[in-house]
Symmetry: C2
Subunit: 427 residues, 2 copies
Amino acid sequence: MAPLKIGIAGLGHVGCGLIELVQRQQDLRLPGKVAIAGVSARSQSRNRPVAIDSYPWFDDAATLAEDPNVDVFVELVGGSDGPAKFAVETALKAGKHVVTANKALIAKHGMALAKLAEEKQVDLLFEAAVAGGIPVVRVLRDSLAGTEVKRVAGILNGTCNYLTSTMLEQGREYDDVLAEAQRLGYAEADPTLDVSGMDAAHKAAILSAIAFSADLDFSKVSVSGIDQISLLDLRMADRLGFRIKLIAEGVLTQAGVVCRVEPLALPATHPLARVNGSLNTVRIEGDPVGAITLTGPGAGAGPTASAVMGDVAKLFRPAIRPAFGRAEHHKARPFVAGAADEVAPFFLRIRLADEPGALAALTEALAKEGVSVDKLLQDSADESGAAPVVIITHRCPRSHMAAALARLEKISIPVDAPRLIRIEAAS
Amino acid sequence: MAPLKIGIAGLGHVGCGLIELVQRQQDLRLPGKVAIAGVSARSQSRNRPVAIDSYPWFDDAATLAEDPNVDVFVELVGGSDGPAKFAVETALKAGKHVVTANKALIAKHGMALAKLAEEKQVDLLFEAAVAGGIPVVRVLRDSLAGTEVKRVAGILNGTCNYLTSTMLEQGREYDDVLAEAQRLGYAEADPTLDVSGMDAAHKAAILSAIAFSADLDFSKVSVSGIDQISLLDLRMADRLGFRIKLIAEGVLTQAGVVCRVEPLALPATHPLARVNGSLNTVRIEGDPVGAITLTGPGAGAGPTASAVMGDVAKLFRPAIRPAFGRAEHHKARPFVAGAADEVAPFFLRIRLADEPGALAALTEALAKEGVSVDKLLQDSADESGAAPVVIITHRCPRSHMAAALARLEKISIPVDAPRLIRIEAAS
């Protein structure tokens, strides 16, 4: 498979994240080799976390877009119009595939650009434009092409979700939490695009156009944000069992596709109510698939670069892929048996004869094998005279647990076979 | 785009679900037209929910597999060996693309079949083999090709998850819940494949092979099931803040890929701990994407048929797709503004002057506009002398809410602008 030559315009966080991925592509599962044919940004000399000296430099994104060495033009410049739009059009007209993370561009000009791409028989891919690292664009467009989608709804702006989650959790007012988020880099210096709901609306419009084969018309999207939500609102809602969240949705109605972004009150048990912090979630409801929910990081250099690279991976030719996605140049790995003596915290349930010394024998057996007890719960003996005991241990080798149980066996304390279950750490 | 002719072997629930989808393909978003070139099953005359008389009948799946009229062979026969395997091999050797939902076949013979498909330059797709309607195979293989996967973990057997969830929720023993599940059709007459963990292990092995470019070797997968878990275990774990669930995982270690299925104790706050009932969930952890979680129906005729159809949709040629997935034959839909007067329950937060009659004026205004109150909470007045009130209404038109608020405005009861937020129904 021939190497794929990409030109990258825009070297901010995502652009640098992408270059880093190209440089460590031996860790990835790309169908072939990716080479960087050129890069472009406003400033060549700016300090960046990756070295770019070895790549041909282009002062102008559009010049890079039509360079004969470029197979795929990656647009990470941003902005719905201006240089980003011009460069993408230039690339498509020159017969290059385009990958972009630019939601404003796609929400505003996506239909026209898609038409241009179709005329030129090239791909226009924008996985990174919606929900960052969550591959919802391709899921909706390709994987769910065999299902009739009825509704797409989700939390598509991590900044808004972080703000409302933090306000409620920490009992702080909107302005206070926003100012802190700006200091920490979680919110932009000018947060308007996020808190007004406009950013989520761009994404919802793109998803709606895909889900419903609809003519994307952003002027019909109704948008309201979280900037009017007060701590009082969140708290009163919470006391009645609701969470207020900025929800973006597209719904298929008789008249057409209704797409809107607004704060909604969700019952605390609603799947979207539990998504806190800066995560994004998309719920797709369709027939006959039912409901599919995708959750993950909706922004950030790494997740967005991963989504861009996923699109790039699609552009190798021939388009057919090995069934397991495995190419010859991939690091091959064997399946191996798990370590016999894994170290973890354990859950041990045991039933002890209800007699003096039984619990002492158990705790002593554990102590002798160096197993440290985090929690212990003994309940009353049941009718058979056996008392259930549960122990949560600190991390220890499984062999120590086994040895402690063997000790117990010898003095025949357990009434029946103890249950030993590994505890999965919180994540 | 030329019609794609599929041959379907196996006409159980999923096969019939697929035929139903082909018959209503005008509702879907396939790149072109799908035609059924032939069907095959054990019995031609069996009563089925869809009519099959108009499709050419084949007594033998392998004969259908190599029929010159067939572009894509869809294998829904099941079983890791025997007729399913022979028919899939026959199809691949004849240069046909293959789509299958057969996890046992792919877990056992997937590598050899993939090799055969590669030699013949055809696709072997098996989205429906893992996690039913959740498109995790293509997400892992293609969308996340640009990320280094470190771990894949999830709930991959809905029957086991239903059994353990129901035991704890209803306080019933394993045998009792299993017998009921069998009566209701949630569990097989012979549930061994599910409750032993073997079904989840097949799926985990397939995902691990994709995620880590690994040589699938099922003999290295360690498997234990839920058939030894008692209500006592679940209850004692619950009292200490843990949920016991059957977790399938594949982890990348220095030595290779460790793949295992076993009951684990998860802290109640763990994302997988909250997945109850027969849902499936897969959590993919990688660098730089972070963690992506996919949740949805892991089985059932509809979701599985949707996954099969999603694979079929991939096989149209040319392989390039319009950016929004929109083909000329798709029902086009306009974006439209939402109904001005939507009907929903509403959350109304208002601050009232702390004086006699304020609350009465509010409730009266609502009553006069026919708005029925579901819940009302008034808190003490704050320092400014304003008392916050929250009302949860029953379903009513938004215009009634607006009219009630206009009434209030006139007698100037609210201290500041009320907050009106639509309530999303539980789902």
